[in-house]
């Protein structure tokens, strides 16, 4: 761990101590800073805070917001709420898999351009099925529209 990283972590630590934040907030801050949760960062924090690493690890693996691996440049999030489900979310997912050449269980493309994720419900049911590409919300998506939308992010 280099000095700069240690300084960043030290700053997060101080801020969180000052705010009486909990592990979840700490991890949210770490993820905001580094994009994902690295083992060495957790171990650093565990040592620093006298909180066992197992508690951090338990939280990281419990909440779907936390990622343990680097994610792609673009995050494609498919809403899997009830309405999106009945309106064909699963077919959109398989289309994206095919289009991004993702193998089963694989979430991020080899070139690190895309990461495919699912979310329970983004609450935009009236325009289901819904897909988010980064912050942008796409409504009434079909498999073929999806492929077209992704094209713009490929280069």
């Amino acid at each position: 761990m280099d000095t700069q990283m240690t300084e960043t972590l030290e700053a997060i630590y101080d801020r969180c101590v000052a705010n009486e934040d909990n592990i979840i907030t700490v991890l949210q801050e770490i993820q905001k800073e580094f994009g994902y949760i690295q083992e060495k960062v957790v171990l650093w924090f565990a040592e620093r805070s006298n909180i066992p690493a197992s508690k951090f690890y338990g939280v990281v693996t419990f909440y779907s917001q936390f990622h343990q691996n680097p994610r792609g440049k673009n995050i494609v999030t498919v809403c899997c709420g009830t309405v999106c489900h009945v309106k064909g979310a699963s077919r959109i997912i398989s289309k994206i898999h095919e289009d991004l050449k993702l193998k089963e269980g694989q979430k991020t493309t080899k070139d690190m351009k895309f990461t495919l994720e699912r979310v329970n419900c983004v609450g935009a049911c009236s325009i289901a099925p819904v897909v988010l590409v980064n912050e942008k919300v796409l409504g009434k998506v079909t498999p073929s529209k999806m492929v077209k939308s992704l094209k713009a992010y490929k280069d």
């Binding site: 690493a53 197992s54 690890y57």
Partner: protein
Amino acid sequence: MLNLNIDGKDVAVASGTTVLEALRLAGLEVPTLCHDERLKPFGACRLCIVEIAGMPKPVTSCTTPATDGMVVKTNSERLYRLRKTTVELLLSDHPNDCMVCGSSGDCTLQELAYLYGIRENRFLGEVREHSRTDHNPFIIRDQNKCVMCGLCVRVCDEVQGVGAIGFSERGFEAKVIPPFGHDLDCEFCGQCVSVCPTGALAGSLWAGKPRSGGVVKTDTTCTYCGCGCNITLSSHGDKVIRIDSVADNHNRGWLCVKGRFGYEFINSNERLTTPLIRKKKGGEFEKATWDEALSFVAEKLSAIKEKHGADSVAGLCSARCTNEENYLFQKLFRVGFGTNNIDHCARY
């Protein structure tokens, strides 16, 4: 005092008592898998459920505070069915290998399966497969056998204050594991092993050793530090094969790594097995009979005393041997040689 009626029996308990404690005070019993009196109630296994008048659903007796006037039922067809389903569900995700499991005969799950007569399982399906082996010298972690009772996690956190293992993931994937799935790296107190209700956590030292036939248990006191922990030695023939400690002693069943796992020296082949005499200074040790050795010692020490006076001999007694031995030893010097030159190494 709170007055309860449990299965028709009137019971008076102190406030702050849980329903489980109350029913046990009344001499009744319900099955439990995730409960340990020494730990905070958890309410995960759902086996200790009882019906309480006025409550719509069964509640876990371990987590429910007793209240005045409570009417409790510990057994009914409904409770029996729910408990049986729970056990059956647990077995549906458990390797069926009691024959080769070190905990066979000492396994709560096995006992429950027997109690509910579960021969066939309605719920067979996917079984978790954690094929990873943990490389540590003391504790075998067989996660396939974990029932997620959380006793190990809680004892490690609440009692030992270490937190070497924790829950991770959720749903069917939920498991108990050291952070990031590494090998266990902890104080190896084995508290987790002692509370595990199945064979998910077991001592490496007693793996493959006799489980019950020919095993003799002896209650005694630990030989290491001054904490004076009560232990139970399991021996087979003249070999010590396992050390445990029961929950209701003054150390509450807790031991440290040395106390629980540091007993191999007893069976070491480096043990001294015969008296040795060095006939002249600088010579080699030679094996001797007891009679030779004892007479030799008695003669030599007595001769020194005779020649140089009582205070030319001294004894160091042992902070690791028994009171009776130490008593007799100092008496030997005081009576036998007439000297008070006796001390021991307690100072180091």
